[in-house]
């Protein structure tokens, strides 16, 4: 469970998140909203990469704290940028992060297959197309199978086939106590398999609901 309590995040005079409160239970959720609605900032706040100006974020019963190694282990985050080392190959990047998370080569190979990155394993990240780099970034984020997976625009620059690979890779987060939060403009792709959705506008919650049926959301706030 992720709980966001009265969260406000301001960058100077710009208020990115405005007194936002919500709870996100286990499952896969879409995070929707126009540009500047606060999706990315909310993901970064949950990851602990940006500090609340006011309010707090509680993840799995503990206040989000980037100093806490246990908390960091529980987060998988792929932001707007890939978070990969451009001069390392895809394989080297994933093996590096695998070794830092204590994930063996078997799981690295699995992540490479899941996102169909086999052809690019020996290609430097800087030489990848934007879409392939995005897939590699998602592979890095879910490599250690984190309890909380945060993906910011994972479908950007992806064709339908590649987008389906990303959805399939995230689908296991529908089971168990894990949470995946996907910020995207491609609502259709997420609605096709997600458990629910959250809509933000101007840093405020507009709607949060679970999909009872495909493509149908029921408002709970």
């Amino acid at each position: 469970m992720i709980r966001v309590n009265d969260l406000t995040i301001a960058f100077g005079r710009t208020v990115a998140i405005n007194n936002l409160s919500l709870e996100i239970g286990p499952g896969v959720f879409g995070l929707f909203g126009q540009n500047g609605s606060g999706k990315s900032t909310l993901l970064r706040a949950i990851a602990g990469l940006v500090r609340p100006t006011y309010g707090q974020v509680i993840g799995r019963g503990h206040r989000v704290n980037l100093s806490d190694e246990t908390f960091r282990r529980s987060i998988g985050y792929a932001g707007h940028e890939s978070g990969l080392y451009g001069r390392l190959t895809v394989g080297e990047n994933l093996r590096l992060f695998g070794s830092l998370y204590g994930v063996g080569p078997g799981r690295v190979g699995e992540a490479i297959r899941e996102l169909d990155l086999g052809r690019f394993e020996h290609t430097r990240a800087e030489a990848l197309s934007a879409g392939t780099r995005r897939r590699a970034s998602v592979a890095r984020a879910l490599l250690h199978e984190p309890p909380i997976l945060l993906l910011d625009e994972p479908y950007a620059n992806l064709d339908d086939e590649a987008a389906n690979l990303v959805s399939a890779a995230v689908e296991p987060w529908k089971a168990g106590e894990r949470i995946a939060l996907i910020a995207t403009h491609g609502a259709k792709k997420v609605k096709a398999f997600a458990d629910g959705g959250i809509i933000l506008r101007d840093g405020r919650l507009v709607m949060q609901g679970r999909y009872d049926h495909p493509n149908t959301a029921t408002a709970s706030t």
Partner: protein
């Protein structure tokens, strides 16, 4: 899908980061090469400007009088190392800035001290690689006969290098997230580096002048360097988390 998580040790994670940086540098050649070029240029200019053979008590004639060449050469050697080293230190976190890899790294379950030690070790590698070429070149060009005093020279170099990379890495991390980081690093770090380099010049001058190893080790500057290294290393490791924050 079932990730077999076998918790790697602190050292294993730290060394993985060191290997990553070295691998990136081997491919990019963006740090060591400019350091070497700077040192090469300065050394070449000095070779054409300064007289050789300072150990024979030769003095440089300056407007205010004379100065032992050993003092002057020790000063030039460490000024070259300082500025070449700062060129490298300024790039400490550049590899992490590309594609926002720093965010991925900040989320990794590794104690921040591991990240600091990894970055300091990489910077140390660059500075040592520079000195492996620079110091013998100085010795040859200015007839310093350092081979006869290699023990005391190595001890001084080791102490200076540790202090230098510890301070430079800490301030490089402080400056890394600012827009004017390349300007900020020298502004922040130079005041802290002054005591190290004064001690370095004093001790190296003694070595260049041909004094015995005992007088180098017994010098108060040696103790200053040692104390500085211990204090700054501990302080940097403990505070690095807040520096990154």
């Amino acid at each position: 899908m079932n990730a077999q998580v076998v918790e790697p040790g602190f050292l294993s994670k730290t060394m993985a980061l060191v290997r990553k940086d070295v691998r990136v540098e081997i491919r990019a050649r963006e740090t060591l090469l400019p350091m070497m070029m700077f040192a090469f240029t300065v050394t070449l200019l000095l070779a054409f400007t300064l007289p050789g053979g300072p150990t024979g008590g030769r003095a440089l004639r300056l407007p205010a009088g004379t100065l032992p060449a050993s003092d002057v050469l020790a000063g030039f050697l460490w000024v070259t190392v300082l500025f070449a080293g700062l060129i490298g230190a300024a790039r400490t976190f550049e590899v992490e800035r590309e594609h926002a890899a720093i965010e991925a790294l900040l989320l990794v379950p590794l104690d921040r001290s591991g990240l600091f030690i990894a970055k300091a070790l990489v910077n140390l590698t660059y500075v040592v690689a520079l000195q492996v070429i620079l110091i013998p070149a100085f010795s040859l060009l200015f007839d310093l006969r350092l081979a006869e005093r290699s023990g005391s020279m190595l001890a001084v170099v080791a102490l200076v290098d540790v202090g230098f990379v510890v301070v430079a890495t800490t301030f490089a991390a402080l400056a890394a997230r600012t827009r004017s980081r390349e300007l900020l690093l020298p502004i922040l770090s130079l005041p802290a580096l002054v005591p190290i380099f004064i001690a370095a010049v004093e001790l190296t001058s003694t070595i260049f002048a041909g004094e015995p190893a005992g007088s180098v080790a017994g010098s108060g500057w040696f103790g200053v360097l040692l104390a500085f290294d211990v204090i700054f290393t501990i302080t940097s490791i403990v505070t690095f988390e807040f520096v990154l924050d």
